[in-house]
């Protein structure tokens, strides 16, 4: 990947509706950040520097979901200026926690939350970037995992496929040697239906997986819901546990909507 003879590839980082946590993951790569900065020209990264270089960009990392009419236009511009576009985090890959609005009446929400809702200009929904423009790679997580981010950047620099497997968290959990909290402690865990990437962080600390990386490649939520229910989890809690950071991604979207489940 190269933008011209002798020059370094240009990296841009873009923000849409998000908390900035995923961009911070890049800044958090303390040991590797200098190396990244040596290999790419950081052309646009407002979280780190107000200097902006004009496009086109070789690699754009996009954080955040589409929630306004302005976002809808802006993501088209970002796409047009980017050779490769990688979305990072649950907001950009699934709509994020803010996609909970997609399940409610927006006007009602606005009237409860804001003193003067008329000042607001927003869409009814929060949607992932891939609903609006073609995306070259989606990196999951809320927030994303630092190792995986470096792997994706390294892969794009080398022109190879990133090693980001789509199997579930349990595979990482067992490779790490964790005992299963679901089996051994009766702690509800979404690991079996959740995309790997975190290295099974929560089970390593005796917590169940919260599903921050969204659905794995072939999620069987119905079977897991049966198991959670047998463990004594009431239906309201089943709804809630699937309706967090990745609520809008299928099949979590319907897993958390009992009344709509087939």
């Amino acid at each position: 990947m190269n933008s011209g003879a002798g020059s370094r590839p240009k990296l841009a980082v873009w923000k849409f509706a998000s908390c900035d946590g995923c961009q911070l993951t890049l800044l958090d790569c303390e040991d590797e950040l200098l190396e990244v900065a040596g290999r790419v020209e950081i052309a646009h990264f407002l979280e780190a520097s107000s200097a902006r270089l004009a496009g086109p960009y070789d690699l754009s990392l996009v954080e955040g979901s589409i929630t306004t009419a302005h976002d809808v236009d802006r993501i088209q511009e970002v796409r047009a200026e980017s050779k490769s576009l990688v979305t990072i985090g649950a907001c950009s890959t699934a709509g994020g926690i803010q996609a909970l609005r997609n399940f409610s009446d927006l006007d009602e929400l606005l009237s409860v939350v804001y003193a003067t809702p008329s000042f607001l200009s927003t869409l009814d929904t929060s949607t992932p970037i891939s609903d609006h423009v073609p995306v070259d790679f989606e990196l999951r997580g809320c927030p994303i995992d630092k190792r995986q981010l470096l792997e994706v950047i390294g892969a794009f620099l080398a022109g190879r496929k990133p090693n980001v497997p789509d199997h579930c968290v349990c595979v990482e959990c067992k490779a790490r040697g964790n005992p299963c909290v679901l089996v051994a402690h009766g702690t509800p865990c979404l690991g079996p239906v959740t995309h790997a990437g975190c290295g099974a962080l929560c089970p390593a600390f005796n917590r169940g997986c919260y599903g921050c990386f969204g659905p794995m490649e072939s999620p069987n939520v119905e079977s897991l819901i049966c198991a959670l229910t047998e463990m004594g989890m009431p239906p309201e809690d089943v709804d809630r546990v699937f309706h967090t950071f990745n609520a809008w991604s299928e099949p979590f979207r319907h897993a958390g909507r009992r009344e709509e489940r087939p």
């Binding site: 590797e32 190396e35 990244v36 040596g38 290999r39 470096l150 792997e151 950047i153 390294g154 892969a155 620099l157 080398a158 190879r160 090693n163 497997p165 789509d166 199997h167 579930c168 349990c170 595979v171 067992k174 490779a175 790490r176 040697g177 964790n178 005992p179 299963c180 909290v181 679901l182 089996v183 051994a184 402690h185 865990c189 690991g191 079996p192 239906v193 005796n206 490649e217 072939s218 069987n220 119905e222 079977s223 897991l224 049966c226 198991a227």
Partner: protein
């Protein structure tokens, strides 16, 4: 060679193994389970603990005396130390236009497995058929140096079925020393049997007494009891019958429950499949090739010519079960299952291969 050892002598046995430069791996309490880790001495063992195992369920329980081996299979499989979840296969360095290849030396310090059960010793024998010929460098280096101290099971777990598989509960092959924990009232002793020269040499360094007829009878009695107390069983004729029923509706039924989470393959002491990953660093000057555990439940595992061959969970579960119990015989001359029960206990939804086999074999399942 057989000898009666006190608890102190067993402690000395572990100390000798350590002083001889071995890393001793044994059962330990971890996060409310009996798992495996390096031990510094007998004090690290889960004395006085057992567990209740059932499909998808595991709970620790207290015993009323400090038995060292009062539990059944530990949560982790022993394979993790011979065939680690991740192994670097090579590293390539680019420097001024030339490339040099480094191969990591597999030479870990020698291990001793302490308290390994008969089913798991048989699992090592099965892994040997996979990894010794042709020789896998990491496995071979570690396996050749391995010292095995096996333990007889007094309390089989609720998902154990070694008797059906002919692999337990008393150690019969593949050990240097086998221990049987015996109680006569408050007297706590271990019948130690050595089967190899180095096992005999190590026992020779310990204080002990010759076993009496009564000691040997007590050990036999304990094995007889354990044999009667298997949590599960598997009819040896069922796998072949099931293999004929490739489109049996039971495969669909189990696929509705199966999460394709791969827990069963990860904890199985004989599952050996891996994938390789090539990585590059940011500089582009260093590239590494890693092997990591993979599973037939992962979609990528059967990715061929642009798509996974086994895309349905039904086809993936069928692959796992029929490989383990049927085609393993064609491939390696033995079953791939030793009856340790881990896949049943650690399946989050409690899928039980013995129950699946019974359903497949006993019900013809409609026209086929």
């Amino acid at each position: 060679m057989a000898m009666m050892l006190s608890l102190d002598a067993v402690a000395a046995l572990v100390d000798h193994l350590r002083n001889d430069g071995r890393k001793v791996i044994g059962p330990v309490l971890r996060n409310a389970t009996i798992s495996l880790d390096e031990i510094d001495g007998v004090d690290d063992l889960p004395a006085g603990w057992t567990e209740h195992q059932d499909g998808g369920s595991y709970r620790l329980e207290r015993l009323d005396r400090p038995e060292l081996f009062g539990h059944a299979t530990p949560a982790l499989p022993w394979k993790s130390w011979l065939y680690p979840p991740r192994t670097m296969l090579m590293r390539a360095n680019r420097d001024n236009g030339s490339v040099t290849i480094e191969k990591p030396t597999p030479g870990a310090e020698p291990f001793a497995f302490f308290g390994i059960r008969s089913c798991d010793v048989h699992a090592l024998d099965i892994l040997d058929r996979v990894f010794l010929d042709p020789a896998d460098p990491t496995y071979t280096a570690r396996r050749e140096k391995l010292f095995v101290v096996a333990a007889t099971c007094a309390r089989p777990g609720g998902t154990c079925f070694c008797v059906s598989m002919g692999t337990g509960p008393a150690p019969s092959i593949g050990y240097d020393i086998a221990l049987t924990e015996l109680w006569a009232g408050d007297r706590h002793e271990f019948l130690a049997r050595a089967a190899t020269d180095r096992g005999r040499a190590l026992l020779g360094r310990l204080e002990g007494r010759a076993p009496t007829e009564a000691d040997l009878a007590a050990a036999d009695h304990l094995v007889g009891n354990a044999t009667q107390n298997m949590g599960r069983q598997l009819d040896p004729t069922h796998p072949t019958a099931a293999a004929e029923r490739y489109e049996h509706p039971q495969w669909e039924a189990v696929a509705r429950r199966c999460l394709a989470c791969a827990n069963c393959t990860m904890v199985c002491p004989t599952c050996f499949c891996s994938t390789t990953e090539d990585t590059t660093d940011l500089s582009g000057a260093v590239s590494e090739r890693w092997r990591r555990w993979d599973s037939c439940f992962a979609l990528d595992f059967s990715f061929l010519a642009g798509a996974p061959v086994r895309s349905s969970t039904k086809s993936r579960y069928r692959q796992w079960l029929l490989h383990k119990l049927v085609t393993w015989h064609d491939q390696f001359g033995t079953s791939g299952c030793v009856g340790c029960g881990r896949c049943i206990t650690w399946c989050p939804v409690g899928i039980d291969l013995t129950a699946e086999m019974t359903a497949l074999a006993l019900d013809p399942g409609g026209p086929s």
